[in-house]
């Protein structure tokens, strides 16, 4: 591996972290953190596994967009502004409906938001839910995500002939702060549970708390990007 490619790898990863810690994606980061953290206590590595899948989902979205732009006649600037304008708008009702589904507001037979319900995927350990969440959250481009992904990562990937690895690392970088926070919270929770009886209470309140965070984030995105009042 050349020094230049090594520098590109670090740049991609760090640029992803930089994107994630900016104020703009705060709403989706909080929703993701809550969703990943709610698996705390279900099994030993559940939070790490869901965090990893969330990161992979984000990475897959960025890789897919890169390939889409290269293999199609889409104009990157037009596509970038389209995603910035409509990505967050589309995510607003999706988050509200997903939160309502988690609260059981559609009745027990309804399976429209099955991806957000880990219990429906017992066979695969609920893997698809976090993967899917990462993928669609990545599509809600903030201005900083668009600027850094289209302005830094894609040109860097083109210069280094690395259309797969650099967007992948950027995607992992965008998830890193959320996953690291979730893992730290999980470790703290496990330490506390060892001396108290928190685990049972956590399981009871985690699902509705996650649902309300999703709804709050969805309403926030709607007020900001659709109604323009925030």
């Amino acid at each position: 591996m050349s020094a230049e490619f090594g520098a590109a790898i670090l740049t991609a990863l760090w640029t992803g972290v930089l994107t994630s810690v900016s104020p703009c994606p705060l709403a989706t980061n909080i929703a993701a953190l809550t969703y990943i953290s709610k698996h705390s206590g279900s099994c030993r590595l559940a939070v790490l596994a869901h965090g990893g899948l969330y990161a992979l989902g984000r990475a897959l979205a960025y890789i897919a967009i890169g390939f889409l732009l290269v293999k199609s006649l889409l104009s990157a600037p037009s596509f970038s502004f389209f995603m910035q304008k409509y990505g967050s708008q589309a995510l607003s009702p999706v988050l509200v409906l997903a939160g309502m589904y988690m609260l059981g507001m559609f009745g027990r037979g309804f399976e429209g938001f099955i991806f957000f319900d880990v219990s429906k995927f017992k066979a695969s350990g609920g893997a698809l839910s976090s993967l899917f969440m990462g993928f669609i959250f990545a599509l809600a481009f903030c201005p900083i995500a668009a600027a850094l992904y289209f302005g830094v990562i894609l040109p860097l990937a083109a210069r280094n002939s690395a259309p797969f690895s650099l967007p992948l690392l950027y995607g992992l970088g965008t998830a890193l702060p959320v996953v690291a926070t979730a893992v730290v919270l999980d470790l703290g929770f496990k330490k506390m549970s060892a001396v108290t009886s928190l685990a049972g209470k956590f399981q009871k309140y985690a699902q509705p708390a996650t649902a309300w965070v999703f709804i709050a984030c969805g309403v926030y995105l709607g007020l900001k990007y659709i109604f323009g009042v925030l």
């Binding site: 104020p23 104009s75 037009s78 910035q84 507001m105 201005p143 900083i144 600027a147 109604f227």
Partner: protein
């Protein structure tokens, strides 16, 4: 609504219909805004033409330029949706221009100019400068003739350091103006 249909144990009825109302209303507003937006032929998926990347911008702010003189505009391109980082970029860029280009630089008059690219007069800049997001671009003019330009890609990475940000804007502008 019964407790069985609402296992979360909350007052589901009113909240449920309020949220459903919010979802439908927000989808309706988003669809209405999208449908009522002015048609923009450049916003459609268009082939990427290599030459377009180097095409000079059209001059749409003649009032800001001095005719037959060496001028430069430091553009800040924004959209209708503002964010805190975007406002910071605008403030730092404006501050750099006002601080370091209050007087001419080697005969170049430099001015700051904010342009909303969601509005029809500014839309062409998206393709002219291959913009991906809110951006800062420095464009040189000789009279009404457009010369070289540079897009300041690092502004998003320097947001946390005002001094470094302003030094970057000033340095890149100097480099452009010093070049041919």
């Amino acid at each position: 609504m019964t407790q069985e249909k609402c296992p979360a144990g909350i007052a589901c009825g009113g909240v449920k219909y309020l949220l459903i109302g919010f979802v439908f209303f927000s989808i309706g507003v988003a669809a209405y805004k999208a449908a009522s937006a002015p048609a923009d032929p450049q916003a459609a998926a268009a082939p990427v033409v290599a030459e377009a990347a180097m095409a000079p911008a059209k001059t749409s702010e003649p009032a800001l330029k001095v005719s037959a003189a060496k001028t430069a505009l430091v553009y800040y391109f924004y959209t209708n949706t503002r964010c805190s980082s975007c406002k910071t970029i605008e403030a730092y860029t404006r501050a750099a221009v006002e601080k370091d280009f209050a007087s001419d630089y080697k005969g170049w008059k430099v001015a700051f100019n904010g342009v909303n690219i969601d509005e029809a007069p500014g839309k062409h800049f998206i393709q002219d400068y291959r913009l991906n997001s809110k951006s800062v671009v420095v464009q040189k003019f000789s009279g009404d003739k457009t010369l070289n330009w540079v897009k300041l890609e690092k502004v998003w990475q320097l947001l946390d350091d005002k001094e470094a940000f302003m030094t970057y804007v000033t340095g890149e502008t100097h480099n452009l103006l010093d070049g041919k």
